[in-house]
Symmetry: D2
Subunit: 387 residues, 4 copies
């Protein structure tokens, strides 16, 4: 079993993640984790914070000489802004918590529900943790998982398919091509024309002091048949992936393959017919409406997931809120924020998917070293071929 | 912590569920569980199996004299069809497994991926468990959870908002009204006109030997503020609900509140402004675009979830498949099936939501007897009022 | 991951267990499960209930044609006594719960703490679940696990090393020999002389209306090196085994290998020196003071665990207690009971150990079918040989 | 649910723990955590490493202005020795792993089984994590838990009852008195005479290049009735505590209350009779043979647990081992080590018990802020009083 915890407040000293359950012997490239952290910070439409932070991972446990040990891995990311917030966010009793106190909860955020639940009257004590800054730790975890999956040639990427009213017209089905084109676009969009329009939309929103959400797609290729399971609801791969994606800050919907379009079509136009390729000794489908998952299991096709991100709730032209003490109507608190963070969310989406696929791989193939697991994996591929 | 397991094959002796972690002292009405089982079996567009089975729950542990004991609860539902399948599905070594053997995997089902994963050459050994018949056990579990939640006045219902291309036009926001109207419609649709058109679509699909999916909505009302949490991804209420809903057979997408429509709008038109009602001493929102969940927590508004069900994959005019032995192309296996099961899936959706909300309630309020938990709950409501 | 739930009250309709997570393709012999159930019911010193019940397992899910399907397995054991208790234990509101009501909690039982915790005024609602009858379900689960482990030649047995003041003098180290001799003794004791004295002690206790506890040992042989792990506390094999054993009703202590004797010796007389057998290409130890577990991992030697069972708390000459209503002192309630159940507890101990070892095997070797898992296992053995 | 992960190698940069699930509003005193870290480092018989390290906790998340936030807490302890080991233990590919390579596994350690399991040929990659240095992180976690429990007046302490052949004669039953006396003894022993003899034994062992184990007792007072549960094996408080204690490095046995002495006595001399104190409106027992736990639940008496620690396996006069490459017999590797660490293990035992009791408290009383939980707790105490 693989699991991880993250900790850290947005303006605290650092974010920390501990990952427990990866096999020994996985080559880990620290620079590649940093590359993913940078990808999360990029994207047209980001605000000032991204200029302050330049996230770099510190590895302090579980990796030695470039390889995992099988023991828990500690990843930390320092918050550069900490120096400015130390006196406010300090763990010590003398922290000046009255400074930067927040009493006007922001609509669309955890502020009010969190303040009530945890009985806090300074909403900063909520928003510091609910902040999407936490996703930096998840991207670091996901980057380690991606290096693990890369050993099995699993490839994960993402692209943005909608921002505001702008959707891409044509989709590309080649996953490496998607990755290449998305990386070149300031909004992770594979379509040049849509990229331009999305950027214009973001400019417009910014001018209006408003914000924009959108839809991103995560794809995972070279997935062996049979990750996840139909036998028990908690094992279903699509359910697990949905759990992970929906847990990302600001995500309000998730779909697999055709997703909501399934409701429009007759069954005969939804299901992917099965064929056999005698040359390569494998079953295949000509279509992939299922998004690579049938019966809660990977079916050998690319996994295709989409998630919708709501617009950033922190608006420069703030919405109505109330002061939690006086109960009078006030504009919501302003925290420094972005206009659109869908490209960043897509990168977080990749990380979450990498984690869930890693769980499913470990569950299926066992093994305590990468070499043992790889042997189990390859022998299973041979079994599949002979099926 | 609350958890449950279900077991049982579609044509096995029975379905069984064990629920562990409910407090003592919850009044349980067996007839009401049966009412939910009947609701799952109803709906325009169901096939022959529903006429054979008339599901009734048997309670054999955890409930005494009409009240839960705090100990694990066993719920069983006998399969009436078992007598016809006994010789095929028996656990004994002399089962005639060659009879009714399935070697043509059905597109859209677990058959092929499951057969390969579990190394089974009779796909019946997969499809018997992946079958949506398993959801009868989940509905029984959910019915118990609903009786638990009813003690806290939590109310859960569902309605169908789309079948095939037919969508309802106007939504109703009163949850009790939704429940009433949905229950009266053969397709659980609150809109008479849409009901009629949906039934026509189903008739059409049936005539064509085809099938239809759709979208259902689950709503939960009177939810206290602060279920779930923003502090750790696995605790987020929307993520948990999405995990549960996506684990239902044939579900390909889940959304909360505005869901995918969030991508269309500016932020100023998405987030629910916060106001204070001095008369009732409570915070409120004039809109509920968030679907009752912000920052991974319930915010006091109705929880609104939608899920899309793909069309039933078992078609009377079967899709192309291959024989797993000869690898030659054959039509997919036919199992007796429905044309449209979206209304039934909505009932399953309610059950899954009831379970997840029960988990969140137990997590927040603790307590080993309903009276203890109720006391904790009421004192929290008083705390919320004074916030 | 493997897990299971049990449900059922002592005089309820039946005990039920669901096991989730075993691979497909394990041959399951129902008669062998029944054999273990009978072993649990045997032993010198048992009371009347054992004559009423003659436990037989019913399998209603997860096994087909003699083999596991990979889907959850349902095991039920009917309570023959149910007919006499139906009106008292029924789940229906009309149960005559005033009949056989218990208000005098028995010292040494869950009665009082349970009554207070769950806010129950009829202690029957506690004792029916806390009863050691529940262990019948665990023995059934363990019997399935043992058949799974048997595929890997893992062999588990138990013997009684102490009852009352009587301890065996000489221990036998051959696990098969232990199994053979224990099975022949009415108290599962490998020493004829001690057997006789233990039976005399039991007779004496019975005559005095008293009861006796004792110590049993569980041994597991042919365990591959490396089950469990040192990397995280929850993965440690000895910790997991201790968790399981201590959860058995009436167990008050657990030890591994030398156990408490470790405190008496210098380190140089405790640790097992390491040697290499060039002929068989394996590391070995000449002693096994560690009881087969070092650093939270199996080290290839037999696993040796001991647990102490307190005397049955239900005495024919009852201890002082109080009436929970009047608070006046009364003799504790009498439920039909045994004089000594250590041999039965040993059988339950085997079951619990079988479950934990199965978890550890699945965790290490993965695989969804026995053939896949076996292949992974054998390749690992080859890896170990080459280490 | 409360859970935590630790990470860190013995000579790595630092140890880190993340604790997830504590309520908001717990006052946390960093100095008190450091006090417990110092207690773990103390005790007669410790070796050189303890002089190098002077453990201090760094809190970087989850606590603000002296109070918990409800969000995950990060605790780190830097390894002072890291500077000397950086080039060997670095996560970077250029680490000089050939330096300080270990190829002679130490009997009684994780070295050999771990090396085989994780397929590592430098046993340092195992022993760095299996080292008891990890318990510093657990003591930090436990210290936080103790501060949490202190709000409920729960008091936890430990004392050493045996080292080598020396056992204490008379036990003291007052928990505060035990704490006071233990703290004054260099070996945490409440008996002056035994303290002296234990120190002599340690001196003797040291002179012989040998090591000693022993038995410690952990006691927890002011525990409410009803923590843990009888309904499901995984919930049993004694089982959970045993899981935790047995997971401590070098622990080979655990007992509750009378423990193994239960096997010696008749039932009439084991079970604690129940009485009622009309003045204080509470049930009580005149004896506490059960060690405060009956039926898997706390019964209101002090919880009494004992654990046996085997002698430190790293001997100055090393035992036989083999080189894992040549397979020739060699003396085991020497790592700097202690002669006797039982007093330190007792402190770790307190920490583990504090964690498990915190889990059980949170499970029973729920609540997201200390004030909410406290209210639930006090109302439960009132309910107990009225029972």
């Amino acid at each position: 079993m693989l699991h991880y915890l993250t900790a850290g407040e947005s303006h605290g000293a650092c974010l920390t993640a501990i990952i427990e359950g990866l096999p020994a012997g996985i080559p880990i490239d620290q620079a590649d984790i940093n590359r993913h952290l940078a990808r999360r910070q990029a994207g047209y439409g980001r605000g000032g914070r991204m200029k302050i932070e330049n996230d770099k991972v510190i590895i302090s446990a579980g990796i030695r000489g470039g390889y995992t040990l099988g023991s828990p891995i500690t990843l930390s990311i320092m918050n550069k802004d900490w120096e400015n917030w130390r006196h406010i966010m300090s763990s010590a009793p003398d922290a000046q918590i009255e400074d930067k106190k927040v009493t006007h909860p922001r609509p669309g955020h955890a502020d009010l529900a969190g303040g009530i639940k945890y009985n806090q009257r300074d909403l900063r004590s909520i928003l510091e943790r609910s902040s999407a800054r936490e996703t930096a730790a998840r991207v670091a975890v996901g980057a380690v998982c991606m290096q693990f999956l890369a050993a099995f040639d699993v490839f994960i990427t993402s692209h943005v398919v909608q921002i505001g009213g702008i959707r891409i017209k044509n989709t590309i089905s080649d996953i490496k091509e998607i990755a290449k084109l998305a990386e070149e676009s300031p909004v992770r969009c594979v379509d040049n024309d849509a990229t331009k329009k999305m950027m214009q939309q973001i400019d417009l929103a910014k001018k209006q002091g408003d914000s924009l959400g959108g839809v991103f797609e995560v794809r995972a290729g070279n997935i062996p048949i049979g990750l996840g399971s139909h036998v028990h609801w908690e094992r279903k791969l699509d359910a697990r992936l949905s759990y992970g994606l929906m847990s990302i800050q600001a995500i309000k919907g998730v779909e697999v393959g055709l997703g909501f379009e399934c409701a429009e079509r007759f069954g005969s136009r939804v299901h992917d017919e099965i064929y056999y390729d005698f040359d390569n000794q494998k079953f295949y489908h000509k279509t992939n409406h299922a998004g690579g998952i049938e019966g809660g299991m990977s079916n050998g096709e690319d996994i295709i997931l989409r998630a919708v991100m709501k617009p950033i709730p922190t608006l420069l032209t703030p919405l109505d809120s109330v002061d939690i003490n006086t109960k009078k109507t006030y504009p919501a608190a302003k925290e420094r924020s972005d206009t659109c963070a869908v490209p960043a969310a897509a990168v977080v989406g990749e990380a979450v998917v990498a984690y869930e696929l890693s769980c499913a791989m470990i569950d299926k193939f066992g093994g305590d070293s990468l070499s043992e697991m790889m042997r189990n994996y390859k022998n299973y591929l041979a079994q599949v071929e002979k099926y």
